[in-house]
């Protein structure tokens, strides 16, 4: 009896040693490129540093400067505008597409692939073709608008009013397919027998949608909402290619501002402080959603 326990601990110890050996490569890489950088970013945000001069400790200086920075206030407003418009529109459209595709319509594989293509396309390449489509003088979109009789054609990326909507349209086009695929997978998790039972009970299509499909789908909706919000707070490549944050900072967003300060003005401390705020905002949104989910998410 005593002997077998000794053997057991020896086996357990060998297993433990094996586990750490298997983990070693990931631990080293995780420490160097994720864990230590996250902690460093926190400290760098309390310094002033342009990579060449000495590092100066400024305490909360960068955060105080951000609070009084008029462009940063505008950047936050622009980012909120982008998130608040693109996320709901994208989610509703994706859900509608998924519901229609889930009916077993002919050609659904074809549609699924076509709607998903923008997701795997490089955002830079997508932004380039859309910049060309939105070109206010020679672009296809204004040509189509003038064809249907619009005389006061928007200047799109050249206008403070229309530049952000143009970026939002491209973002929805690019991310719609991802949310749609997640909704489709969620819908397929809801068994057909649930619907059949409800139909036998005399529930109409709308009743079934509101009282069965939507509640049973709510874990998926929750997940899509969380990752869409996290993703849209990080909009960057569309801005870089389509507007370079212009005109007059009308499309400057959080990540673009971090990029500008860090890699164009070489203000590492200031950029890190903005990055920490981005982290806090994303974290706060996610936590609030986890708190609120109890009210509307139903786990089966």
């Amino acid at each position: 009896m005593a002997r077998s326990r000794v053997q057991l601990t020896r086996v357990a110890r060998a297993e433990e040693r094996a586990a750490w050996l298997f983990l070693a490569p990931s631990l080293v890489l995780f420490a160097i490129f994720t864990a230590i950088p996250v902690i460093s970013a926190f400290f760098i945000s309390f310094t002033q540093w342009n990579l060449f001069n000495e590092v100066t400790w400024v305490g909360l200086g960068n955060y105080i400067a951000l609070a009084g920075d008029e462009i940063f206030a505008k950047v936050l407003g622009n980012t909120a505008y982008f998130v608040l418009v693109s996320v709901p529109v994208q989610i509703v459209l994706a859900l509608l597409c998924a519901l229609v595709l889930n009916r077993g319509i002919k050609g659904q594989t074809f549609f699924r692939v076509v709607y998903f293509l923008p997701v795997v396309t490089s955002t830079i390449a997508a932004a380039l073709v859309w910049a060309w489509l939105f070109n206010s003088n020679f672009g296809l979109i204004n040509a189509a608008l003038s064809l249907v009789g619009v005389t006061d054609l928007p200047k799109w990326m050249g206008s403070t009013r229309w530049a952000m909507p143009a970026i939002i349209i491209v973002s929805i086009w690019q991310n719609l397919g991802y949310a749609m695929v997640l909704f489709l997978a969620g819908l397929q998790n809801i068994g057909k027998d649930v619907h059949d039972a409800a139909a036998l009970d005399g529930a109409t299509g709308w009743d079934r949608f509101w009282h069965i499909t939507l509640p049973l789908l709510s874990p998926t909706t929750f997940f899509v909402l969380v990752i869409s919000i996290i993703g849209s707070f990080q909009v960057f490549e569309l801005v870089l290619v389509m507007t370079k944050a212009g005109p007059a900072n009308a499309t400057n967003t959080l990540v673009y501002y971090i990029y500008q300060n860090g890699f164009q003005f070489y203000q590492m401390g200031y950029a890190s402080a903005a990055a920490m705020l981005l982290f806090l905002i994303v974290l706060a949104f996610t936590l609030v959603q986890y708190k609120l989910q109890r009210r509307w998410v139903h786990y089966g």
Partner: protein
């Protein structure tokens, strides 16, 4: 309205949607064959009367786009292979082995998924710069050699392997390395395939990191070269569209052949952890 009538109506709506979704691709390809002067016609036409294949030659001679495509391929393939190794090893430990601190470490790896990549961008840039790794392959590749997402995805899959199977192998005297190589990896092929396609696509399209860690045209990846092209030839739309077409072809090919595995990977990420 009967079921068939509704279905027909929805089919037409989906078809219009498909036109809107694929329109930019069609426009991209059509423009890539236009002569430079053609694009300043108003209203624009879809097809040019005088198609030019010349743009596809010009792009490789005006900038080192061929080299950039090769760089993208090298970086994306190596990152994919490295992640398959590091993530599957970590996933094996998390899913099949018992050790103290397992739950805590897994939670730390998962928590990293919450951190926006822009937070680690500046410290990593400083690290790579101080190592003298700007304009090197190791600078482009190593920061992506491991991912929490990949570990999570594979762990979910490995958890479905029956414990008795691994236990039996151990009683037969197989070492952990043997079990990992001869039992676990072959069984995990579908999940490894999904991760491979997902990683390749994400890495090919990765932009900000290669943008800031390369300065020489010879070390640029295709997507960065494309953005640079925009700065140099910002009104040469046929050339820009040619570059875009070439830069997205490898990913579209991978996606068309592996779209089932790709989507399976994405949805595992979504539903596996519930």
């Amino acid at each position: 309205m009967g079921k068939t009538a509704t279905d027909w109506l929805l089919f037409v709506v989906l078809l219009i949607g498909a036109l809107l979704m694929s329109g930019p691709f069609v426009w991209m390809i059509a423009t890539s064959f236009k002569p430079a002067a053609d694009v300043f016609q108003f209203p624009p036409t879809l097809f040019t009367a005088d198609p030019q294949v010349e743009n596809y030659v010009r792009i490789f001679s005006t900038i080192s786009f061929g080299r950039a495509m090769a760089n993208s391929l090298v970086v994306s393939v190596l990152v994919t292979l490295l992640q398959l190794v590091t993530c599957s090893m970590a996933a094996y430990a998390f899913a099949c082995l018992r050790f103290r601190g397992r739950e805590l470490l897994f939670l730390i790896y998962l928590a990293a998924l919450m951190v926006p990549s822009q937070v680690t961008l500046i410290p990593n840039f400083i690290l790579i710069k101080s190592l003298g790794w700007i304009d090197t392959y190791q600078g482009l590749i190593l920061p992506y050699a491991f991912s929490s997402f990949g570990t999570f995805l594979l762990r979910q899959y490995l958890k479905s392997i029956p414990a008795e199977l691994l236990e039996a192998a151990r009683i037969d005297g197989a070492s952990h390395a043997q079990i990992y190589l001869t039992i676990v990896l072959p069984l995990a092929k579908p999940a490894l395939g999904a991760l491979a396609i997902f990683t390749f696509v994400a890495q090919w399209n990765n932009f900000l990191w290669p943008l800031i860690t390369t300065t020489k045209p010879d070390m640029q990846v295709a997507i960065v070269a494309l953005a640079t092209l925009q700065g140099q030839y910002n009104t040469d739309w046929p050339l820009l569209m040619t570059g875009s077409v070439i830069a997205i072809v490898p990913v579209l090919l991978v996606f068309v052949f592996g779209n089932r595995a790709f989507i399976a990977g994405l949805t595992t990420g979504a539903f596996g952890g519930r």
